[in-house]
Symmetry: C2
Subunit: 292 residues, 2 copies
Amino acid sequence: MDVSLLGLGRMGTGIARSLLRAGHRVTVYNRTRERAEALRPDGAVVAPSVADACRNDVVLTMLADDSALEGLVFGGRGILASLPRGGMHVSLSTIGVALSDKLAVEHAKVGQGYVAAPVFGRPEAAEAGRLAVVAAGPDPLIQKCKPLFEALGPNLYLAGSRPSLANVVKLSGNFLIASVLESLAEAIAFARKSGVDASSLLNFLTAGLFNAPVYKTYGNLIVQGQHEPAGFLLPLGLKDIRLILQAAEAASVPMPVASVLRDRFITAMARGNQEKDWSVIGRIAAEDAGLA
Amino acid sequence: MDVSLLGLGRMGTGIARSLLRAGHRVTVYNRTRERAEALRPDGAVVAPSVADACRNDVVLTMLADDSALEGLVFGGRGILASLPRGGMHVSLSTIGVALSDKLAVEHAKVGQGYVAAPVFGRPEAAEAGRLAVVAAGPDPLIQKCKPLFEALGPNLYLAGSRPSLANVVKLSGNFLIASVLESLAEAIAFARKSGVDASSLLNFLTAGLFNAPVYKTYGNLIVQGQHEPAGFLLPLGLKDIRLILQAAEAASVPMPVASVLRDRFITAMARGNQEKDWSVIGRIAAEDAGLA
């Protein structure tokens, strides 16, 4: 189908390629145009402006955070002003629950559809069409999007008819991953300082009870202290913990482990790890235990 | 081989049966004798006292906590006094690092061997010979124990020559499991209160990133609110978190998530869940969010 994709960071670029490979006709837009031009050889059409990109009925966005998306949607000549009545905005970004609710209301006011469809997976998975998609929104819109979701990856979870439910699921998942990072970091720091070989410990744990991709991938990054290149930047991890704490406070749900995680991410920022992968919080536990 | 097993709770009873099934000649002892007598039909010999059980060269212990094991080892006519020179004590219990170090010293003083070999797995796994064994101690002793470990389960991890390294690994593993319980509990409480179906959320998470036995087993218990019968009692969970915090403090390793877990387990105790499975901390997060 004809679709536009706005926001060409590492995730957006991978997603554009997966859509093109699946046979969709993709128009791309990015604030710094070079990243859009780089997709021409793959068959993308480059839109010179947001308004031009909104000539397609279906517009996907993949932005870094709430404020970037708000600027793109609500700004002058933005998506809200440019998308035709009956058009649809599909937000793939990991944004807050409150902003997702606001987008649903504002798009509806002008006769546009809105679906939230955040994704799980690192940039390589976006490129390979191996993302997991969590989608929520009115059923007719979801059905219309299905060929797009199928291009992004085989695993689709429908969270309900209220779009922000998808954001709740995405934030819950990222919170669980961050909890794995921190608990592994603490266990590995304790084991190392006690004289246990961290690498063989990890192999043992991930051969049995913790035989899951998240423990294997991040456990190895923490044991090896390898946090570059970043698959997911530390500041984005902090942002997601902030978003879940905001949404949880709004819903009156205390989350004590999330509060600990927030402080750990802030500590990691304070120690100059802005450009590192969020698994760098593994290093904080080691440093705080006096390990090199 | 000829071996004695002292301590016949649910774990010890299952282990006795697995040893007998593998062809070992097993003498059993338990303070309340009925639990020992119950193993006669399986082929066990019942020892009337600790001293009688110590006539075998190899003595396994599976007690509930540090003080129970200390009483059995250091008490009058206990293991230390009764085991012959050249005999070996294999501690399967989840005990503290400091006590394990003390046992190594005291057994060595009287010419006895000591191996720490705590196990991962619930009572059904003990019964089925499907435990994971973490063993540490001098290599000749470990080699001698291997046929016993093979009877307990297929997965053996050798943590080093200092016995307490096995206890470090076991406590690290239980801390990681408890972290899973608490982070799942917080995520599920947040998702439920936000309107997401918890059961389908769990299915989605455990189909991908969190595709591991620990998330499936405990996630279902938390989603269904099913915490009886207890596979692992709440007070034992609290004990293990206390033990890792003690050992981590002794090693100067701060563990902020473990500190949160300690408070959660204490809250669960205060709310009258002493007889429940430790997954009952999943209920604390729900209660604190005002969910029924």
